[in-house]
């Protein structure tokens, strides 16, 4: 394992100190318990947006703290959900009187920890709603299992709900909008290489020199199947078909297409892939109205990509376009 770190146990703390050093007038880092919060929090009268999850997915979530997106993010250890005390403290720090929305990715750990935090925070008198993202079509959807994972749509949802919160929409409205974004979004990912967590020092799975893993999660979880690597056009097809058929997306739909790198993917490859995605959607009559191309929800140094499609409506498009000013996403300001 070769990494630009001091020691496996120090990665998260060292990186948080780096974040604090980098953006002293934009964010504040709280160390005990750990959360990153907008420097001007709480914003009075605005719904507070809190997300969080394991570290190693940067810029998600800490890089999305700022005007127009999250009010606070709770970083766990690498690939490990944060703890309720972090979420409780972050929730209180961003509570501006209009309630707080928890944006939670659907993993057993994240859901349980955020649940405990919501219970604690409600007991403190802060109104809390939760939106759970579960957009990963690689996982079968079933009542009897943990259900689908939350992946790429989380980034999009944080941006869109951030716009709505900035527009002083109510907690109920922002939560409902978030649920609509989740319900209309689908994702799937694949890997060329595994990743290595600093704690384990071992690759998350083994792949032959000519194999790819299809349907991976963002924590180095193995995928649903593996196959010999094909051209980018084939990889785009492997990911897009299940996405499109699941919602389903159909001719005439206007979408946001998000081509995401897993952390170790060169940008030039993301554009090659985006080109293929565009061709496939064009064939189906689906129109790309907005796009996002880059590494925004990552798995450490994993090479690979994920594709997220969101069926847009006018409100989503408006809040997607609204100004945002965070280290990870910035426009309109």
């Amino acid at each position: 394992m070769k990494k630009l770190i001091n020691a496996p146990d120090d990665v998260v703390l060292d990186a948080l100190q780096g974040v604090q050093a980098a953006y002293p007038d934009r964010v504040r880092v709280n160390y005990e318990p750990r959360y990153v919060v907008r420097a001007d929090a709480p914003v009075s009268g605005k719904v507070g947006l809190v997300s969080g999850g394991g570290s190693g997915h940067e810029p998600m979530h800490g890089g999305f703290v700022g005007p127009g997106m999250l009010d606070a993010a709770c970083p766990g250890e690498v690939f490990t959900s944060p703890t309720p005390d972090q979420m409780q403290a972050a929730t209180q720090a961003v509570s501006g009187g209009a309630g707080v929305l928890h944006i939670v990715k659907n993993y057993t750990g994240d859901v349980m920890n955020f649940d405990m935090a919501a219970d604690l925070t409600r007991a403190d008198g802060v109104e809390v709603e939760s939106v759970v993202t579960n957009d990963d079509v690689a996982v079968e959807d079933s009542l009897y299992t943990a259900g689908r994972r939350g992946v790429g749509i989380t980034v999009i949802l944080e941006k869109i709900c951030g716009g709505a919160a900035e527009d002083r929409r109510s907690l109920q409205e922002v939560a409902e909008l978030g649920r609509r974004v989740n319900a209309n979004g689908r994702s799937m990912g694949m890997a060329l290489t595994p990743c290595i967590t600093p704690g384990s020092g071992q690759p998350s799975f083994e792949l032959a020199d000519d194999e790819v893993e299809i349907g991976i999660g963002i924590h180095g979880e193995p995928g649903r199947f593996r196959e010999k690597i094909g051209p980018a056009s084939q990889i785009a097809e492997r990911l897009l078909t299940p996405i499109v058929e699941d919602l389903p997306f159909s001719s005439g739909d206007r979408v946001l297409a998000f081509v995401n790198g897993m952390g170790g993917t060169p940008e030039i490859e993301l554009y090659v892939l985006y080109n293929e995605v565009g061709k496939l959607l064009h064939e189906r009559g689906v129109q790309i109205e907005r796009n996002l191309i880059g590494s925004y929800i990552t798995s450490l140094e994993m090479q690979g990509c994920s594709i997220t499609l969101l069926k847009l409506d006018e409100e989503m498009t408006r809040y997607w376009d609204a100004p945002v000013n965070t280290p990870g996403l910035r426009w309109g300001v």
């Binding site: 394991g54 250890e77 490990t80 309720p84 057993t108 649940d115 079968e140 071992q202 180095g220």
Partner: protein, 195 residues
């Protein structure tokens, strides 16, 4: 608790390896971090009250483990601690009842049923063994054996809860990491309490 902490440190790599196969590879690190934190917290407190000790451990786990194991083990110890509040000594009946409470807490929090390939598959049979036993020594031994059996029985299962469930059929033929740490918990409890 010292023994369980030592056990988590000792088996850290093994739990990481099990969790890498069907999860995200952090279960060993998480439990080790949590139990070290628990010992730290205990160090500063008087330990006369068994319930108090368990509740301190619970809070330490909840606020330092994270992931699925944090809330689940936290709930386990919290419920056990609540059942044993104020006790300096515990008899077999109270001991078994506390475990039952704890495991019910885990079931309520995680919604896992037996056969879902989770820690519940080690915890439940062990509690049943405690409840059915005639004396402390056979209870402790029976619980260890039952937990071990439950842990091994997770191998052929397809996971329906937790991170391993994302793998579908590919989760088969691997031992569940959480059931494994639960087995170690019974093992160290037996060693600590055995006459």
């Amino acid at each position: 608790m010292n023994q369980f902490a030592a056990s988590m440190q000792e088996h850290r790599e093994e739990l990481v390896r099990l969790d890498t196969a069907i999860g995200d590879g952090d279960h060993g690190t998480n439990m080790d971090r949590g139990m070290r934190k628990a010992l730290e917290q205990l160090g500063t407190q008087p330990q006369a009250d068994v319930g108090g000790v368990l509740k301190t451990v619970a809070m330490a786990l909840v606020s330092s483990v994270g992931g699925a194991a944090g809330p689940l083990y936290g709930t386990l110890f919290l419920q056990m601690g609540t059942a044993l509040t104020g006790k300096a000594e515990v008899d077999l009946e109270e001991y078994a009842a506390a475990w039952r409470k704890g495991v019910q807490g885990v079931e309520a929090r995680g919604k896992a049923e037996p056969g879902d390939k989770t820690m519940v598959d080690a915890l439940l049979p062990a509690v049943e063994a405690l409840e059915g036993a005639a004396d402390l020594d056979s209870a402790l031994q029976g619980a260890v054996s039952a937990a071990e059996q439950g842990m091994r029985d997770t191998i052929p299962l397809v996971a329906r809860k937790g991170r391993a469930s994302y793998l579908g059929d590919r989760s088969r033929d691997h031992q569940d990491p959480g059931a494994t740490s639960s087995y170690y918990l019974f093992q160290t409890a037996a060693e600590a309490l055995a006459g």
